[in-house]
């Protein structure tokens, strides 16, 4: 009965509001709140330059969180992000040292390394049915080991190619950083895939009830494998962009992206148990996290405070949205 009233009420609302998840709305409300608080602190907070700069910083996290979201929608998690990011960055830079062919292939090679890490994850999760949390931790350790061996434990001396720098810092459209355009393109592709492709439907189906998806004739293992490969590839691409941004790769450059990428996805209303969530929410989560970081750094909050605030915000939001059903 309440459902029909709700349905009737919702029917009169604009479509984008009707379909909006309360979590997404909350996340956007928090963004507005943060901007407001920031503007109290400093006038320049609402200036277009600052906002665009934030969007550019957000786009690196946005690319990485896109892959994470895909995996979380399946009800899994990808903890190999830190070294998939680093491996993408380092391998792209490394390839650049091998002549003009290396320079040309730097970006695809970096991304491919991430895909390889993702495939190992995917095989472990889909075919060996190792809990994703465990196998991705293990591949993260292996990727780290490989990179340490390759770089000798120091930040590699190879520097990013011009193309990488252009993607991360250049402008194709005046005023709009390329990184933002890239995020927009990847985001659009993700939205299209999630809503319009049979792959996207299968991802949601598996996340909701893998058993039912399997019995519906979906090749669930293939879908899971692909999702992890995409996640690994996007993490590495994020690393490539970051390397372009900083002109070179660095050890442990990915460490700062694991927690924020999970947090962005979860704060955007995607259920950590899988099957529910929209990309719009992830966008909101990414911007929210980036703004939070920015404000904390503008306020000269030390790293310690940032970590604590992160953790507390995530736990609080999860307690609001991410709880398992009480029934037993």
């Amino acid at each position: 009965m309440s459902e029909t009233t709700l349905g009737g009420l919702a029917g009169r609302m604009p479509k984008f509001l009707r379909r909006a998840d309360p979590a997404v709305v909350t996340a956007f409300a928090c963004i507005v709140l943060l901007l407001f608080l920031g503007s109290l602190y400093s006038r320049s907070f609402l200036s277009p330059e600052y906002l665009l700069q934030q969007l550019k910083v957000a786009s690196f996290l946005g690319v990485i969180a896109t892959g994470m979201m895909l995996v979380i929608l399946l009800g899994q998690i990808d903890l190999s992000v830190p070294w998939a990011v680093a491996a993408g960055a380092m391998m792209a830079c490394a390839a650049a040292a091998y002549g003009s062919a290396g320079v040309a292939l730097a970006i695809p090679f970096g991304v491919l390394c991430g895909v390889a890490i993702g495939i190992v994850n995917g095989i472990g999760v889909a075919y060996l049915r190792i809990p994703s949390m465990i196998i991705t931790l293990a591949t993260n350790a292996v990727a780290q080991g490989l990179m340490v061996v390759y770089t000798g434990g120091f930040s590699p001396q190879d520097s990013a190619t011009a193309a990488m720098r252009y993607l991360a810092t250049g402008f194709t459209i005046p005023g709009v950083p390329n990184a933002v355009i890239i995020w927009a393109l990847i985001g659009a592709a993700m939205v299209f895939m999630l809503t319009r492709s049979s792959f996207g439907r299968a991802v949601y189906g598996i996340g909701n009830r893998e058993r039912a998806a399997y019995l519906s004739g979906i090749d669930t293992r293939r879908i899971v494998l692909i999702a992890f490969a995409v996640s690994g590839g996007l993490s590495a691409f994020g690393g490539v962009l970051l390397a372009g941004y900083a002109s070179k790769a660095a050890q442990s450059m990915g460490d700062a992206y694991l927690l924020p990428s999970i947090a962005a996805v979860v704060l955007g209303g995607t259920s950590i148990l899988g099957g529910r969530g929209s990309y719009l929410g992830t966008v909101a989560g990414v911007i929210l996290i980036t703004l939070l970081q920015s404000i904390l750094s503008v306020m000269q909050m030390p790293e310690a405070g940032r970590q604590i605030i992160y953790g507390v915000v995530i736990v609080a939001m999860l307690l609001l949205y991410g709880r398992a059903p009480a029934s037993r």
Binding site: G145, L146, P302, I314
Partner: protein
Amino acid sequence: MKDWRYWLAEQRGTLFAFGIFIVMFAIYSANHPAGFTANVVQTAANKGVLLAFVAMAQTLVVITAGIDLSVGMIFTLTNCMASWLVIGTGLETGFGVLAVLGTGLLCGAINGAIIIYGRLQPIVATIATGAVFFGLALLLRPVPGGSVNEDLADFLTGRFFGVVPASLVALLVVVLVVWVPFSRSEFGRAAYAAGSSEMAAYMSGVPIRRGKFLAYTLAGLLAAIGGLFLTFFTYTGEAAYASGNAYTLFSIAAVVLGGVSLFGGKGSAIGAIFGALAFRTIGDLLFVFDFDPLWQPLFQGVILLIAVSLGAFALFRVRNRLEWFL
């Protein structure tokens, strides 16, 4: 079958880890330039015991079919805390130790409360609390430093009677005081039962929630004991993100090597201790064979990958594919 056979079957994982450790340690000490001396043993023990404490902590949680990705950060936080508090007169040091252990208990209890009563997934919840614990550690020690009561530190990291490493004795005491009572209590059994089959445990009227809560809380305590010992070894506190993460990761490897099932309900902390010691020894093998230490992270990563893949072989016995999705 005789009783001892059942005992043997139950301890198979532990004995396996013990066996690996003995073999590895034999290879290690045989090839060590200094050979099998009290000094070599003491150094190895001191390194191994740290991971052993953290692995014990992880075991308690894994038994309930959960996971604690914040153990490494509790370890780091208590290390930083000890570098402030465990100093001064005997009484002050004593209170400092209690405060550090109390902090560990509190961290574990927070994890337990959020996961069991807040009904959050252990993995995300402990990643988030891990960030908080690390933040607190950074707050305490923005740069490495501090000091510790060196008499106590030297006593607990030295040797008894010139041969027995004190840290091993401490480990034994912790096993007897924390692990044995827990595993033999009603709550310990509830933790096992919940990990093995939560539904059957519920139908049998087992105190599931209290058992799991106790497991998380004691995990915090054990991680804190590890943090305390880290301070005794290094005399300083350091909020090192990479090291905290590495301990979390290695604790999972040690637990798996020690025969504790990541699906819950099976294994013992004793196994995890041997798993930890074996893991450390394997990592150090590279040194005695004069490998470049750069290879160590890769080597450890590969061991971890192999260890977690071992459990997958049970999969090939599944005859109804629907059981994959349970």
